[in-house]
């Protein structure tokens, strides 16, 4: 038992190239319930890590700890050399380095699409308005909806909203992008456009951690797949290894249920 665990850790901490993100022995409790148990994961620069697992397995909690939307209770989280601690300055810095895309988009409904995208560069990076808007338009073009810039989020389809949300995160020029089930709230016909945007991003060399149920995306884009259950990382591997010859019984069970 301890042997397999050892090998899992070895696998999980083996980042492709130099690590930009390190999770070391991370624990997280909600009251007495332990949501994360001794999580160890290194993510290399430009690596795409897809996290899968049954609901309640701690996937979202793990990536929400990375930008401190949740506070971890034990272990260390280091993002591009900055360790997350009580220090507000560190937290702000880590949040500037990481972008997050949410399941429910969480666009700001009272701001136009362009204002949603330019808000953070202007308010956090103090970028002049004209420069921020040029950047915003460029990003909206990148996610292929520049014509919606003047509209409000409520006037857009779910897929368009999620692409705006991606553009909004990119506006801070993050080093790591966190995706928390970005396609789970979308109608099936809109999932493709969002996944395509994410694939573009991955091809462009963005470091990404993606919590998703889209196995096709995992197979095609992921450098590594992380399988979580009960707050633990059960198995880590390349998509090829993972989908064809999983080691752990939990993984096999999960894959047999969803595939």
């Amino acid at each position: 038992m301890s042997d397999t665990n050892q090998s899992v850790y070895a696998d999980a901490t083996k980042a492709v190239g130099e690590a930009i993100l390190e999770l070391q022995h991370v624990d997280k409790f909600f009251g007495t319930f332990q949501a994360l148990r001794d999580i160890n994961l290194n993510v290399g620069r430009q690596e795409v890590v897809v996290v899968i697992g049954p609901s309640g397995s701690g996937k979202s909690t793990m990536i929400r700890c990375i930008n401190r939307l949740e506070e971890h209770d034990g272990g260390r989280i280091i993002v591009d050399g900055i360790e997350l601690s009580e220090d507000v300055k560190n937290i702000q810095e880590v949040r500037r380095e990481t972008g997050m895309v949410f399941q429910q988009f969480n666009l700001f409904p009272h701001l136009t699409v362009l204002d949603n995208v330019t808000l953070a560069p202007r308010q956090v990076r103090r970028m002049p308005k004209s420069e921020a808007e040029a950047l915003g338009m460029q990003l909206l073009e990148q996610v292929r909806i520049p014509e919606q810039a003047k509209k409000y989020p409520g006037q857009l389809s779910g897929g368009q909203q999620q692409r705006v949300a991606i553009a909004r995160s990119l506006a801070m020029k993050p080093k790591v992008m966190l995706f928390d089930e970005p396609t789970s709230a979308l109608d099936p016909e809109m999932i493709g456009e969002v996944l395509d945007t994410m694939k573009d991003l991955a091809r462009g060399g963005m470091t990404m951690i993606v919590v998703t149920h889209e196995m096709g995306f995992a197979r095609e884009v992921a450098d590594r797949v992380v399988f979580m259950a009960d707050g633990q990382i059960v198995e880590v591997g390349t998509p090829e290894h993972f989908f064809t010859s999983p080691r752990e019984d939990r993984t096999k069970l999960f894959l047999s249920q969803i595939l």
Partner: protein
Amino acid sequence: MTNAALTGRPARLWVRKNLFRTPLDAVLTVVFGSLSLYVLARLALFVFVNARWEIIERNLKLLLVGRWPADQLDVLVTSVVVLSLWGGVIAGIVAGRQIRKGTSVIAGMTPTQRLSDLGRRFGLVLGTSLLLLLLTNSSGPWLMAGLMLVGGVAGTWSGRRIGVRFLSPIVARAGILIMAAVPIATYAYMVSAVPLAQWEGFIFNLSAAAAGIILSFPLGVVLALGRRSKLKLLKMVSVVYIEFVRGSPLYVLLLLANVSLEFFVPASIAPSKVIRAMVTFTIFTAAYLAEIVRGGLQSVPRGQEEAAKALGLTPAKQMRLIVLPQALRNVIPAQIGQFISLFKDTTLAGLALGIFDLLAGAGVITQQDDFRGQGLIIEALVFVGFLFWVGSFTMSRESQRLERRLGVGTR
């Protein structure tokens, strides 16, 4: 039966569908229809035939401005004209900005539509003003109304020209400061001519409501934020304030403001009754606003704050730029409702503090030699009620318009 209903003309069809669908509907329609007709007829008979409106006509000035010194009336006229010019400029700038951003509703209207839109919004106020003007026999009020109209229109015209243009942040900020200074300067000008203690009649009700609204809004927001704060002391102070003030009747607070202040400050520096009334209204309304705003804050989904956090916004900016604007927008109806309450509650100050407000004036004029003992209090009260209704109804309509503009419920 069904066939007959279907072949009827639209109007008939409507009547049958809505008023006489079942025998019970028919009975209710007849009973309540005749009752309403009776009441309306009696009211019309009173208003247009029997009422002796000369009591209002003769006392119009007293009711509206109390004993405002006759030689200081020009101050009043100047101030009111300046304020309408100011209001016009603000409305114009807002409209101009909307045109620039392409979100303007009125830009797409024909002149006729625009006029009918304005009529729907301000027709009631303008009509009432005209009615009051017709009751006067001097030229001063006409001159004032004319200048107000000119000021408002000129302000809107020039404001729109400023609004469509893109201003550099420095100019824009200076402009905001100037615009904020105008009402304060006007107020100072009026107070220097006629001390607050002599602000009477409808002027008192209007200015007390305006002061209460302007001052209670920021205080209410601060209290709402305080109540949600993680700082224990701030939270406790806010909760105690809100619950204490909400637990007392406004009338009692006003009475306390009247009699208890002498316990704490020497009579020589105790503020005038008008100021006490304004402060009490502010304190009272802020407590209610705080709860309304708190409700608004709770209505903003958690994800909004999380998204703002994830982007690296500081806690203050998360609140100021993301959560608070949405929270306030979500509770516009309740906020305006509170302001309408405050406007009407200013009549309590007459009784509680002995201020000669519109309602007190209505009581006093029925005691004049010419009108005493003739039951003319009804005329006086109908007049007072009508003025408050015009004000409240206009506020309510404008709030609905604001709601639509800001797209509440269309997310």
